[in-house]
Symmetry: D2
Subunit: 153 residues, 4 copies
C-alpha cells in the first residue's frame, strides 16, 4: 500500500506559480541562490496584497519593511521547470510578523527551498515600528483561516 504524499503547499493561503527562466541559472548550471530570495519577495508581496494589508497600511501611513530573510536550499533547480512559492504567517508579534515560505518544484516534485521573512510594520509619520493592530491581525487570520500565535517582537 502506498501512502499519499502530502501537498507541501496545502497550508499556504497564498501561492505564486512561475516558470524558471534560463537566465536564473548561474555558472554552476543551476538556479542561483539569489533567485529563491526574489521568489520569496514575490510571494510576500502577493500575500500582503491579498490580505488587504497593503491598503490598510497605505491609508494609515504604514508600510511593511523587510527586517530579515532566511533560506534553506534543499534541492538544485534546473531549467526548464515550474515552481510554486507559498507564503503564510507563522507568528505575529507586537510590531513584526514572521512569514514562512516554501518553493515547490514541479520537475522534482519536491520542496526545493524553504525559509522565512521577518516583516516589521513601520509608521512613516513617527519613523518607527508600530504595533500591529487588531484589525490587521484579523485580516491575516481571515486569510489564513486560523488563529495566529505570537512572536517575541
Amino acid at each position: 500500500m502506498t501512502e499519499a504524499k502530502a501537498n507541501p503547499l496545502s497550508d499556504f493561503p497564498v501561492v505564486v506559480t512561475l516558470p524558471l527562466q534560463w537566465g536564473d541559472q548561474d555558472a554552476f548550471g543551476h538556479v542561483n541562490n539569489t533567485v529563491p530570495i526574489r521568489w520569496f519577495e514575490s510571494a510576500r508581496v502577493a500575500y500582503l496584497e491579498q490580505s488587504e494589508l497593503s491598503k490598510m497600511m497605505q491609508s494609515g501611513g504604514l508600510g511593511p519593511i523587510l527586517a530579515s530573510v532566511t533560506c534553506n536550499y534543499r534541492r538544485q533547480l534546473h531549467y526548464p521547470d515550474r515552481v510554486s512559492i507559498g507564503a503564510r504567517i507563522a507568528k505575529i508579534g507586537r510590531s513584526s510578523m514572521i512569514m514562512e515560505h516554501v518553493v515547490y518544484s514541479e520537475e522534482l516534485d519536491a520542496v526545493a527551498a524553504d525559509g522565512t521573512s521577518t516583516v516589521v510594520v513601520f509608521d512613516y509619520e513617527t519613523n518607527r515600528p508600530t504595533r500591529i493592530s487588531d484589525e490587521i491581525r484579523k485580516a491575516f487570520e481571515s486569510l489564513e483561516g486560523r488563529v495566529i500565535g505570537g512572536a517575541s517582537a
Copy 2:
C-alpha cells in the same frame, strides 16, 4: 463598425508567457530596462529548443552565440501584469540569424517592447562562426511554417 485588433503574437511560432514579479520594477516604479532583455533570452532559448537546433548543434560541436541585441521600450510596465514574449526568425545569413521579439502586456493589451537578437552559430572545434547548414535552416523553416529570407552575414 469596429475593426478587429490584430494579435501581435500571431506570427510568432514560439511564445513564452510569464507573470511580472514585483522586484522586476526599479526606482522609477516600472519594469527595469534590463528585464525585457532577460525575457528576450527566455524566448530565444525556448525557440532554439523547440526548433531542435540545440540538439543538432550539440551533436555537431556547435553553439549559438548572441552577437547583439536591440530593444525598443514602447510602454511602461507595472506589477501586476502578465507578459507573452514571442520569438521568430526574420533572416538567416551565412553563419548568423536575426531573431525578432515582441513583448505583449495583458494589462495594457498592447506591445510593451520589441527588438531583435542576432545569433551566430559557432563551431567550438575550429573556434569560429560556421555556415548554417541546410538541415538547420530546414528545422527553422519547419517551425516557422514558411521560407526564411537571407541576411547579409
Copy 3:
C-alpha cells in the same frame, strides 16, 4: 616599432568602473547578456548626474525616458575582471539624444561590448516628449568639451 594602442575610453567624458561579480555569469560560464545592459544604465545615470541634467530636469518637471537600447557583445567576459563603462552623447535631436557606450575589460585589455541608449526628454505635466532646451544642450556640450551634432528625432 610598436604602435601605441588607443585608449577606447579616451573620448568618453563619463566612465564608471566596476568589478565583475561571480554571479554576473550564467550557465554558459560567462557574463550574461543582460549585465552589460545594466552597466549601460549605470553609465547613463552617472552621465545625467554629472551633466546636471538630472537637476535641470527635476526643477522643470522633466525626466529622461529610455526609448531604446542596442548592445554588441564583442568578447566574452569571465570572473574575475574589472570593467570600465563609458558614456557620451553622439547626437541630440529635438526631444531625444543618442548616447554611446563602450565596456572595456581590464583582463582582456579590449572592448568587450559597445552599444547605444536613446533617451527621450519627457515632460510629466504635458505627458509628452519635450524639446531639448539650449540650456540642456549647453550642459551636455560643456561636459563633452565639444559641439554635439543633431539627430533626426
Copy 4:
C-alpha cells in the same frame, strides 16, 4: 573625549568593495533585498579563492555547496554609495562551515546588513557531503590568523 569607532570589517580577512549601481534599487527607492545576498556570494567566492580552498577542492573532486543563507537588513541603502562586504569563517563542522558577512556602507558609515552562509563541502564522486580535512581547516585558519571553533554539523 571622543571614542574611536570600531571598524566593523577589522575581523574579516576577506573584504570585497563595490559601488552600488542605480539599478540595484527597487520600486521602494532603496536597494532591493536580493542585492545583499548577491554581495554575500561575491564575498564568499573571494574567500574560497583566497583560502585556496577552490584549488584544493577541485583537485580532490570536491565542491562547496550553499546550504542556507540568512540576512538582516539593518539600514536602507541608496544610490550612490560604495559598500564593503566582509567574509569570515565562524565555525567549521564535520562537513560544513558557517561563514559570517557584514555589509558596510561608506555613505552611512554603518553596517547596512549582516548575515551568514552555511557551506557544505560536497564530494562529487560519492555524491555526498564529505569531511572537511585538516588540510582545508588549516588553510582557513591560516587565512583567518586564528583557530576556528567547531559547529555541530
